[in-house]
């Protein structure tokens, strides 16, 4: 089972497909769960504290806005764990917590830099593209090693 980082990091389709084909998705939801379930007195209920931008310094310089660094404090460790990656571009839906363009750029850059197997595709708009999208992801996930549980 390989750890596959997905971008967009909270995608339902990608998270489901990675799980469906027997791998472990590295997604934002788990991180959020961990952070809100940790008992904290500084900044409940989300527990986002000044510590997050500090942790983000590992991935982005100090001049970079705190928002980017704070987000990287969550996404960066996921990239470090990743053994493969699926990047889906052309998403008009990178709004909300996904909406920071610079974080998105940095995330994609770090995934590409890591030298792991990567699949880069676009969100489908037509039936044919949908088929292409699913087939490519399925073939990519099947090509990944299945028995690398080393921790």
């Amino acid at each position: 089972m390989a750890k596959v980082i997905i971008y967009p990091t909270n995608s339902l389709i990608l998270s489901d497909m990675v799980e469906r084909f027997g791998h472990e998705p590295l997604a934002m939801m788990e991180k959020i769960k961990k952070i809100i379930n940790t008992v904290g007195v500084d900044s409940p209920p989300l527990n986002i504290t000044p510590e997050e931008p500090k942790r983000g310094l590992k991935y982005a310089a100090v001049e970079v806005p705190a928002g980017v660094r704070g987000r990287m404090a969550l996404i960066g460790p996921m990239i470090e764990l990743a053994e493969a990656g699926i990047i889906v571009g052309d998403s008009s839906i990178s709004f909300g917590c996904m909406g920071c363009a610079r974080t998105n750029e940095l995330t994609k850059f770090l995934i590409r830099e890591k030298g792991i197997p990567i699949l880069e595709i676009k969100y489908p708009r037509t039936e044919e593209e949908g088929q292409d999208f699913v087939y490519k992801i399925a073939e990519f996930l099947k090509s990944l090693p299945s028995g690398s549980d080393e921790e």
Partner: protein, 144 residues
């Protein structure tokens, strides 16, 4: 509601099936003997509870229509005050827009998964190219 411990998880089950309704899924969850909490929503259900129980229930739900039921984990439990619309004075829940956008694609993805499972070969097609700027200029001029 199940107590929030480290091993409690929440899964969103999105149903995009022509044969299974969210109500059917909820009834199936009610049949389970595990101590889990469910919430029926417009796109499916949310299941919260101990990890093993939730995974078991989710697998049962998936088996109802494997290629048309999609699952992802959720950070917040159902009805969490910071996310639930009930306590926020209305408006879409943060994260809803993304989910809705992806839910619109699910029928297409489901059909493609059916084809993949059936072993149908991938049909080659030409990707539509983006409109050339010179062509766009011509169109604008012709309108004038």
């Amino acid at each position: 509601m199940a107590e929030e411990t480290e091993d409690n998880i929440t899964k969103i089950v999105v149903i995009s099936s022509e044969s299974v309704l969210p109500t059917d899924a909820v009834m199936k969850v009610y049949e389970s003997e595990d101590s889990i909490t469910i919430k029926e929503t417009c796109f499916g259900t949310m299941v919260n509870g101990p990890r093993e129980a939730v995974l078991k229930v989710v697998e049962t739900l998936r088996s109802m229509d494997r290629n048309h039921i999609f699952v992802k984990e959720r950070g917040f439990k159902p009805g969490a005050e910071v996310r639930c619309r009930a306590g926020r004075g209305g408006g879409p829940r943060p994260g809803f827009h993304f989910l809705r956008e992806e839910v619109n694609m699910l029928p297409m993805i489901g059909r493609a998964l059916d084809k993949y499972e059936a072993g149908e070969p991938l049909e080659e097609h030409e990707a539509p190219e983006k409109l050339d700027i010179s062509k766009l200029k011509k169109i604008i001029d012709s309108e004038l």
